[in-house]
Every structure is written in structure tokens, then in C-alpha cells.
Amino acid sequence: MSIDIRTSDVVSETNAESLTGDEGTTVSGWAPGAPEPRPRKVGGLRRTDVLAVGGAAIGSLGVTALLYVLLPFSGALGFIIIAYLFFITIYAVLVSLDESKAAIRDRVAATVIHSIAFLMLLALVFVVVFTVIRGWEALINSNFYTEDMSGAGPLDPLTMGGILHAIVGTLIIIAIALALVIPLGLGCAIFLNEMPGPFARIVRTITEAMTALPSIVAGLFIYASLILMFGFQKSGFAAALAISVMMLPIMIRSADVVLRLVPGSLKEASYALGAGQWSTIWRVTLPTAKSGLMTSIILGTALGIGETAPILLTAGFTASLNVNPVEGPMIALPLATWEFVKSPEPSMIARGFGTAATLMVLVLILFIIARIIGGRGAGNLSSMQARRAKGRSRRDLARMESNQVEDKAVFANLTGIT
């Protein structure tokens, strides 16, 4: 393919308007008085594109239907797969009629990527929708959220019993875990960033290694040590410890990354103004990294809430509400789901799906909070924050100006010069 573009053409097509508008000069290739050249349309659909897709679709359906009539094929899924393969082939052939090889590859790749992405995203959405639909029967009863299962057996209808005990259990367990993990995790992440050295390197390596710890092994650790060795009973506190062991390395790692992204120039500016290490961290590093840290905490929480395996080993099982984390078994939403669906009874399975849907809503809420807080990088303010910052600097300006006026007055008084 030969390309023959003269400079004058390019200029006249792209810049003619601005050039004549700004400087009043004319550019060769565009005579004054001639109709103004329209910008060439790039992109968009051509008729052949639409025809090729439509033709390939119709052709593939036809061929597949014919195959199904002539040959002993059956099954809806098979039909879709065969039709899809025919579609790709026929489409490639149609495109090849008037395009080059590179263009054919481009079209086929685009088709495949679009279809896989569509299928995958659909599957993901379907997982969520499926859970809600199967749990709908249980979800629409208000007693599902206000009662526990102590009064309801497997044969009782969905208008009896609920998952209050699991909701409360989840909240208590995650609250204890967060109370342990946030101070320790943030402290350790700050330590890794602020006091580098051989010791910090060891801590960082060990922490990174522990992110590989499978969650069930974290549960097994607490089960074997706290419960079997020290004779604690299965309880919400044990479950919270297991979750903490699992969450701690993950939290440290993500907080470490966020803290590392704080620009060194900001910290240096703070030191240059005479601030100490702690006040630099408190007034510069942490506020700058705040949104990132919140995001890492909230996403870590979502991870901890959804984890079943460690709770399975450490929390025990109960059908009644228990608000004491150190005594008696406690149950959490994922574990309740697991216990519900082990029953063959349809109503129990519906409860299981309802529990899973509730858990999902909880994660969704956490996720939305994370998005609201952490959606912006450091320094990008929301309109509210920007307005507040502007107000602050306006007040500062007023203060400085009034000081200046006073200074001038004092100066004038002292020297007699106005």
C-alpha cells in the first residue's frame, strides 16, 4: 500500500480552521471562497461492516440448523457452540472479500474478545442474580433478619427463624479482628516504611511469605493451638483470631504499598520545615495516604467477612443468638450458609441462599464505602473538600492581608513614612 500525503493536504485538513481563524493567513491547498473542507470521518460503522456481521450471523444459524436436521446432533449448548464457530469462519471469509489479512485478524480478534468478555461478565452477574433469586423466598420475610434459628427446625416454613445470630456473629467477629489488625497492621506498615534496615527487610519478607498462608491453615493453627492445646472453647474470639492471622499479612502488604506511594518530596518538605518524624507521619504521610489506607482496610475487611474456612474450624456452630465472643460458639454468615445448604430440605437451602445474599449485600456496602472514600488519589479533592480548602485559604489570605495592613501601620508609626 503506498501512502501519498502532501504536507499541505494534512495542514489544510486538520489545521486550516484554526490557522485562518487565529492569524488570518491562508494555507496553500485551500483557496479562499472555496467550500470549507469537512473533516474526514474516521471510525464509525460502514455498511459493509454491518452487512458482514449480519450475513455471518444468518449464515451460521442456517448452516447449523441444517446440520441439526441432517445429522443426529442434539442439545442447545452444542447448537450455540457450533453456530458460534461457523459465525467466526463465515465472518472471516466475508471480511476477506474486501480487506487485507491484517484486517481479517483484527476483526476476528475483536469478535472473539467481545464475545468472551460478554460471556464472562454475564456469568459473573448471573452468579449474583442466581443467589438472590434462589434466596428470594427467604429474603422477603422480615423474620429472616430479626429471629435466630433456635426456635425453627429444618421442616419449619420460611416464616419462622432467621439469621440474626449469624449477622450479629459476623459483625462481632469482624469487629474484634479489625480492632486487632488495624493498629498492628498500620503500625507495622509505618515501621516498614519509616525505619528501613535489615530488620525491616526481614519483617517484610516474612510478611510477604505469610500472605501465601492458605486461610484454612490459619484456621487450623488457631484450632490446634488455642482450642486443642490451651483448652479454650470454640468461640467468636477464636474465630476473630483466626481471621486476624489471615488478614494481617494482607493488610500490611497493601498498606505498605500505599504508604510507599506518598511522594518523598512532601516528607522532605516537612522535615525541611523542622518537623520531627512523628509529626511528619501524622500531618503529612498519613493524611496523604488516607484514602488508599481506607481502601486497603475496607477491602481487607470484605475479604475477612467472606472467608469461611477459618471460621469453620474455630467458631463452632450454634442456632441461637450469642453476643458473648469469649463464651459459647458463635456463627458467621458464610459458615451459616455452609451449614444451611448441607441440609437436603428445600427451605433450608433457600435460607442458605438468603444468607449468602445477605453476606453479599454486606460486602457490597463495604465496597461502596471504599469507593466513596478511596476513589480519589491523594490531592484530588471532592467538590465539597475543594470548597472547604478554598474557604480555608481565603481566610488565610484575609488574615495575612490584615496582618500586612497592621504591619504597615506600625511601620508608618515608627518611621513617619507613609
Binding site: M120, T131, T207, M210, V217, L220, F221
Partner: protein, 342 residues
């Protein structure tokens, strides 16, 4: 406060004795000293906890491993109280499930990530990014329910089809299924490695996709435009700029996904029916994994049985560890590496 000494007017610049370099000493304020103590203590505390976990697992696991000896690696059965136990079957089962899942995940995730970063219209792009991120946070038990109550029934047909037409490939063959016999039972296809792998794949996919998309979207704009200016089609640009640039992130994301797939408990425990032989026929009923074994067996385990489970858990931990470190070293060595460090 020391001051810098400048040469005086009388002194010649060629003074043979150079000014001594000023000693800089830092005297920390009380607050800073307290901060350093607290921060160092939290670092030490984390180190202590992590080391304790590791040591405890190691010591308890050692009891079991020393009892079993070398046969711990080669034995397929799991009867710890009879002394006859090993990780040959469960560890291979774990690896089969995770590898099959990853083979399914890589093309899917790559396509979705490419779609979101390259093809998706600007309007829906942000929504799709949020959707994928959100799905990565959905609890695995939700995927497990979906796999168990929905996918299981629909996968049997696909399993049967694959085993009928590709049964000559050893891993796809299924004992006890006869494609010519219309009455042959479908149960040989249920609860298989393959079905567990598909569900694990769907569960891991958002995570892998999120990492890949992040890297793809960072491919330098100049190089993209360079490719277009040289006449590349969109796919040509993707192949010559985006994918080479994002290779590190793709490998890293895949490995991190593999780490997750190896440790997945609930999905696998819901779907498989545990067996204790090495089962390379991935379409056939019966599979096993370390974490599912722990979840199903911890309750009735004797103290020694718990040690044996810990030994299995430790073996899984070591594999995940190798995978994770390999991932981070691969990612760190590539161009896009710095950005995927998470």
C-alpha cells in the same frame, strides 16, 4: 547548631587544609523516640506472630512427618491413626484443580481485561471496572453455591461430550462411561476435578482480570500511537504494544490467581466427592484437595490426626509460597512490574 564555615577574606582559597566535614548528629525528640519504639515494637510483634504461626505449624507437622517418614510424600491413603497416610493423592488433586482452573482463567481473564481496557465504550468502562473489582470481593461461598446448585447439572453434558470425542487423550478419559450406551449413568461425571476447576476459575477470574486490566491500561500512549501511525490495526497494536508491555502483569496476576486457587476451600469442599487415589482423569467423579481435606476431616481428627492435617497444610503453604515468590520475582523484573506490586 553548627554553622558552615566559609573561607575568610584573608584566607586563600588554595588553603592546603580542607575544612573538616561537619558531624551531623540527630537528637530525637521525646515524641519521635516514643514513636520509633512503638513502631519498632509493632514490627517485632508482627514478626513474632508470623514466626510463631510458622514454627507451630512446622513443629506439629514434624511430628506427623517424622512418623510417616518418606512415605508421607508417596502414600495416597489418609489414615493417620493407622500410620498409613501421605499427601500424594491430595496434593496432586489440589494441583490438578488449580492448574485446570488456571488454564481456563488465563484466556478468559485476558479477553475480559483487553475488552475493558481497549474495546469497551468510555461510557460503560468505569462501571465494568467497578463490577470486576466488586466481583473479586464476593465471598467464595457464593461461587460455591452457584457451582453446586447450578453449574454441576449443566456441566455433565459438556463433560460427556469432551470424554466422548477427546477420550483418547489420557486426562479426558472416563472409566465407566460408554458413549454408545444411552442408559449409561451420568454420575461418573459429577463431583469431578473439572467441575471444581470451572467454579474456582470463575471465582479467581475477577481477581486475575483486575490485575491484568490495570497493567494493560498503563501501556504507554506514545507507543500505542506509534503502532497506529505505522499502520497497525487495533489488534496489531494490542499484540505489539499492549501485550508485550503487560506480560509481567499477566504472569504475575495469573500466579497470584494460582495461589488463590490452590488455597480455595469452600468451593472445592462443596463440589468434590473426596477420594484418596491420584486421579488424573479430570472429568471423572472424585477429586481431592488439601484444604477440602482439612475442612472435612478436622472435626473427628485425633491430636495426631490434627498433626497430619497440619503437615498437609504445611505442604500446601510451601507450594503457595513458591508460587507467590516466583510471581513477585517475575513481575519485578518486567517493565510494567513496578505498578502491579500489590
Amino acid at each position: 547548631m553548627a554553622t558552615t564555615v566559609l573561607p575568610r577574606a584573608g584566607e586563600s582559597l588554595a588553603d592546603p587544609t580542607p575544612p573538616e566535614s561537619r558531624a551531623l548528629t540527630t537528637r530525637l525528640s521525646v515524641v519521635d523516640r516514643a514513636f520509633r519504639a512503638v513502631s519498632g515494637a509493632s514490627g517485632a510483634m508482627v514478626l513474632l506472630i508470623m514466626t510463631l504461626v510458622g514454627l507451630f505449624l512446622g513443629i506439629r507437622a514434624f511430628d506427623a512427618i517424622s512418623e510417616a517418614g518418606f512415605s508421607f510424600i508417596t502414600t495416597q491413603e489418609w489414615e493417620p491413626d493407622g500410620g498409613n497416610f501421605g499427601i500424594a493423592a491430595i496434593l496432586s488433586g489440589t494441583v490438578f484443580i488449580a492448574l485446570s482452573a488456571i488454564i481456563i482463567v488465563v484466556p478468559l481473564s485476558t479477553a475480559v481485561a483487553l475488552y475493558i481496557s481497549e474495546y469497551a465504550p468510555r461510557r460503560i468502562k468505569r462501571t465494568l471496572i467497578s463490577l470486576v473489582d466488586l466481583m473479586a470481593a464476593v465471598p467464595s461461598v457464593v461461587f460455591g453455591l452457584w457451582g453446586f446448585f447450578f453449574l454441576q447439572n449443566h456441566m455433565i453434558g459438556i463433560s460427556r461430550w469432551i470424554s466422548t470425542y477427546f477420550g483418547w487423550v489420557p486426562i479426558f478419559s472416563v472409566d465407566g462411561s460408554d458413549p454408545d450406551d444411552p442408559l449409561s449413568t451420568a454420575t461418573v461425571f459429577t463431583s469431578s476435578t473439572f467441575i471444581a476447576a470451572v467454579v474456582v476459575a470463575i471465582m479467581v477470574a475477577p481477581f486475575t482480570t483486575a490485575v491484568m486490566r490495570e497493567v494493560f491500561s498503563q501501556a504507554p500512549i506514545g507507543e500505542r500511537e506509534g503502532a497506529y501511525a505505522l499502520g497497525a490495526t487495533k489488534w496489531g497494536m494490542i499484540r505489539s504494544v499492549v501485550i508485550p508491555f503487560g506480560k509481567g502483569g499477566m504472569i504475575g496476576g495469573t500466579m497470584l490467581g494460582l495461589g488463590r486457587a490452590l488455597g480455595e476451600t469452600i468451593v472445592v469442599a462443596l463440589i468434590i466427592s473426596p477420594i484418596f487415589i491420584i486421579q488424573p482423569h479430570i472429568l471423572q467423579n472424585g477429586a481431592n484437595s488439601v484444604s477440602a481435606l482439612i475442612a472435612l476431616r478436622y472435626g473427628e481428627a485425633t491430636p495426631f490426626g490434627t498433626s497430619a492435617l497440619m503437615a498437609a497444610g504445611l505442604a500446601l503453604f510451601l507450594i503457595t509460597l513458591v508460587v507467590n515468590f516466583a510471581a513477585s520475582s517475575i513481575v519485578a523484573r518486567t517493565r510494567s512490574g513496578a505498578s502491579t506490586d500489590e
